[in-house]
């Protein structure tokens, strides 16, 4: 992702690229965490507008994608805090309508639900790590920025999670 320059048009173009490339991923993260399509849409809107707000003030960001997902994770945490319910690693989906069955055939819906059920057996942020790494295609370096940790530490952690998952299957 390019660093920002000082004109509004460039900020807008950068934001457009960010939105087009990440709208689905942000929505997925919100949906799997909250299990509610409407809430996921509201949160997605909020996440992008907060990101825009930060950018249009002229703030410099090294890695926009990591920044966007940091905003997303914080926003989701706020959502749970306000409702005073524990954060779920992967809330799954309440009913098939949240996946919009018309989007997927019934075998795909079943497969998605099985995967989410499996991921729900993992603790806390482990499922989120797997989603970002294997679904959204984040590199270890990007994720290290996101989680404010060293790439090596993160790589080892992910490896251990995968290993645990293997034992469960």
């Amino acid at each position: 992702m390019p660093n920002l320059t000082s004109t509004m048009i460039e900020i807008e173009n950068t934001f457009n690229e960010l939105y087009e490339a990440n709208a689905d991923a942000i929505f997925r993260l919100c949906l799997f965490k909250t299990s509610d399509r409407e809430v996921a849409l509201d949160l997605s809107q909020d996440i992008f507008t907060r990101t825009w707000d930060y950018l249009q003030k002229g703030n410099q960001v090294d890695n926009l994608r990591a920044f966007l997902f940091t905003v997303a994770r914080n926003r989701i945490k706020d959502y749970y805090k306000k409702r005073k319910i524990p954060t779920l690693a992967m809330a799954g989906v309440k009913n098939e309508n949240d996946l919009v069955v018309s989007q997927l055939d019934s075998s795909a819906v079943a497969e998605v639900n099985n995967l989410l059920t499996l991921l729900q057996t993992l603790p806390d942020d482990h499922a989120e790590l797997l989603q970002l790494r294997y679904v959204e295609g984040f590199s270890i370096e990007e994720m290290a920025l996101l989680y404010k940790t060293r790439p090596n530490t993160l790589a080892v952690k992910i490896h251990r999670i995968v290993h645990k998952l293997r034992d469960k299957i």
Binding site: M8, D24, F32, F48, V162
Partner: protein
């Protein structure tokens, strides 16, 4: 060992990629972008970037957002964005000024239009309930919702009545049906306004009877019906003489049906509240609108419904020669108002 681990990781990757199929629908994507762009257009720009040519106009943003998107997708986006909006929200005027008129245009027949309007009027109650659960239902919003209900009822009734008048000949059954649907529409409007008042904690009024002041006590009050009431008995003018007794029989039967439904609704409401009051399962009450309303208001609303129902009951047991057509029509309206109020406060 290492090989099988990396194979597993590869399998896991391809399995988890299936989750990518869950994504925004095309109309959701457009609607989401539009909402974001609207916020962007309204955001005040930092001094450094505030030269006029750098500001983004809403028109330009809309053109950009919708360029390359079909009018149909854009229309769907608007409808989706506004469908769940509430009074006070940005897209609420689209819901009442665009989505709902389209539904009305697509409905034919005077009675069918009124039946649709009854549903659209009750939607206002559902909106008031959502606002209530979010803690956003103040008196000002409640008044706006009441005004909207009145407006919808007045408009729908005047169109239906003029359509009925335009028809030269009608069978007695059809005339009864017209009268009943009109009375029911008035009843839904009156019951919906009552429900919005209970939700917002304001007083309920019975025509020519006591005002139920929800802070306690009662004072007498004259007719304060808020629904425009043309004389119901002339609302279906028919140049050909209709057997009055047949009309009264039909109306009388309807009064009995409506009374039974209203009684069932009131009884059901009371039993739901009894179950909830003894239930140890918090999940039963967790999304219950009734639990957000002062219990005193609920009791007073129940008294109000009982009183209204008592009048209806008395009309339903009278002999035909003891009751006039207007009283029967009023009884249908009142029973429908009670049904609407109890449905609104049934705990959903």
């Amino acid at each position: 060992m290492k090989n099988s681990e990396s194979n597993f990781e590869r399998d896991l990757t391809s399995k988890l990629e299936v989750l990518k199929a869950v994504s925004l629908l095309p109309e959701e994507r457009v609607a989401l972008r539009f909402k974001i762009d609207t916020v962007i257009a309204n955001t005040s720009v930092d001094q450094e970037y505030s030269s006029p040519q750098n500001r983004i106009s809403l028109t330009a943003l809309m053109l950009r957002t919708f360029s390359g998107v079909s009018i149909l997708a854009a229309t769907f986006a608007f409808m989706i964005v506004s469908a769940n909006s509430l009074p006070g929200q940005q897209f609420y005027p689209v819901k009442t000024g665009f989505n709902e008129p389209i539904q009305r245009l697509a409905t034919f027949g005077a009675n069918e239009k009124l039946e649709l309007e009854q549903k659209l009027i009750f939607k206002r109650v559902e909106e008031a309930k959502k606002l209530k659960t979010k803690g956003l239902l103040d008196l000002e919003k409640a008044k706006k919702i009441e005004d909207q209900i009145n407006k919808q009822a007045d408009m729908a009734l005047s169109i239906a009545i003029s359509e009925n008048v335009a028809i030269d000949e009608k069978e007695s059954d059809d005339i009864v049906k017209d009268m009943v649907v009109i009375a029911q529409t008035r009843g839904v409007a009156a019951g919906s306004i009552d429900a919005v008042r209970v939700l917002s904690g304001t007083s309920l009024v019975i025509q020519n009877e006591e005002v139920f002041n929800l802070s306690g006590g009662s004072t007498s009050q004259t007719n304060t019906s808020t629904i425009t009431s043309s004389d119901p008995s002339t609302s279906v003018a028919n140049p050909v003489a209709v057997d009055e007794s047949l009309t009264k029989v039909g109306l009388h039967n309807q009064v009995k049906k409506s009374t039974a439904l209203a009684e069932a609704g009131v009884a059901s409401n009371k039993s739901i509240k009894t179950i909830q009051s003894v239930s140890l399962d918090n999940a039963v009450n967790s999304k219950n609108i009734v639990s957000t309303i002062d219990p005193q208001l609920i009791r007073e609303a129940e008294t109000y419904s009982d009183k209204k129902l008592e009048t209806v009951r008395k009309t339903s047991i009278l002999e035909l020669d003891q009751v006039d057509k207007d009283s029967l029509i009023q009884a249908v309206e009142d029973a429908t108002a009670v049904i609407t109020l109890t449905k609104a406060l049934d705990g959903d």
